[in-house]
């Protein structure tokens, strides 16, 4: 998975779950951990922890490596960078949406004004004989 392939939506739903946020938090603190050691500190079974780690792995934020009989998990810093950038993108996206709302509302307002009570200066001049003819 490359940095550009991080799927915002998958990341959002992965970290929307409180237990997964907690697991990610613990991995950031420890650097590396096994499902068993994480489960020992959480109100979750080892199987439940393993399931959450799988979801986090699919987003690329977490990776695993086998050491003998255990599987150890750790965060992938470059993917965490991408995750943080994706979050910044969410904010930028709202700015774009608000700008579009503004443009739409202002256009609608202007067209309402001109069809109902347009201010004096916006009315077509009354003295023109052919008001729709371009000059």
């Amino acid at each position: 998975m490359t940095l550009t392939q991080v799927d915002d939506e998958a990341m959002w739903s992965a970290i929307a779950e409180p237990s997964r946020r907690q697991i990610l938090d613990m991995l950031l603190t420890r650097g590396e951990a096994t499902p068993t050691s994480l489960a020992a500190e959480l109100p979750l079974t080892r199987q439940a922890v393993a399931k959450h780690l799988n979801v986090l792995s699919r987003t690329g934020m977490v990776e695993s490596a086998r050491h003998g009989r255990e599987v150890r998990y750790r965060v992938r810093p470059e993917q965490i960078d991408a995750a943080a950038a994706a979050l910044a993108k969410v904010a930028a996206r709202w700015e774009k949406r608000l700008a579009t709302i503004k443009a739409m509302a202002e256009a609608a307002h202007r067209s309402q004004e001109s069809t109902t009570e347009a201010p004096e200066h916006q009315r077509p001049p009354a003295h023109r004989e052919k008001p729709y003819q371009r000059e």
Partner: protein
Amino acid sequence: MRIEREILIEAPVEVVWSVVTEPDQMSQWFAEEVHLTAEPGAEGVFVYRDKSSGTTSTVRLRVEQVRRPELFAFRWVYPDGAEPQPGNSVLVEFTLHPEGDKTRLRVVESGFDELDWSDQAKADYIQDHTSGWRRLFDKLQDHIAKHQSVRS
């Protein structure tokens, strides 16, 4: 997790309200298709189309609050088959304030809606602060800073 943005619009609140809440208008600024009724409890969907790959994705939402013309709120990004709640979804709130003949539009997107929580839930949250968004993101920031200093 909290994102706040606002903008001053030179149009009255009723006009802005229509743009923000009516599906045919929302489809011009939110998603390619919007199926939604602006009524509390109503479920809706946003359909996004990826122009490069041609694939579509559907995001479900549930309308939380509607107070015409000042407040419109919905929850989204919740797991399939689950009821959207403060712990498992993202809340989006639009507030509209008239300023003379203009409107100030504010949007807040938050991972946790702490205001909605019962006192017990709030107490649990404060006690169980390790699962908090703020802490997690502070930590992500620290981690990135460290990682970048190692790289440079």
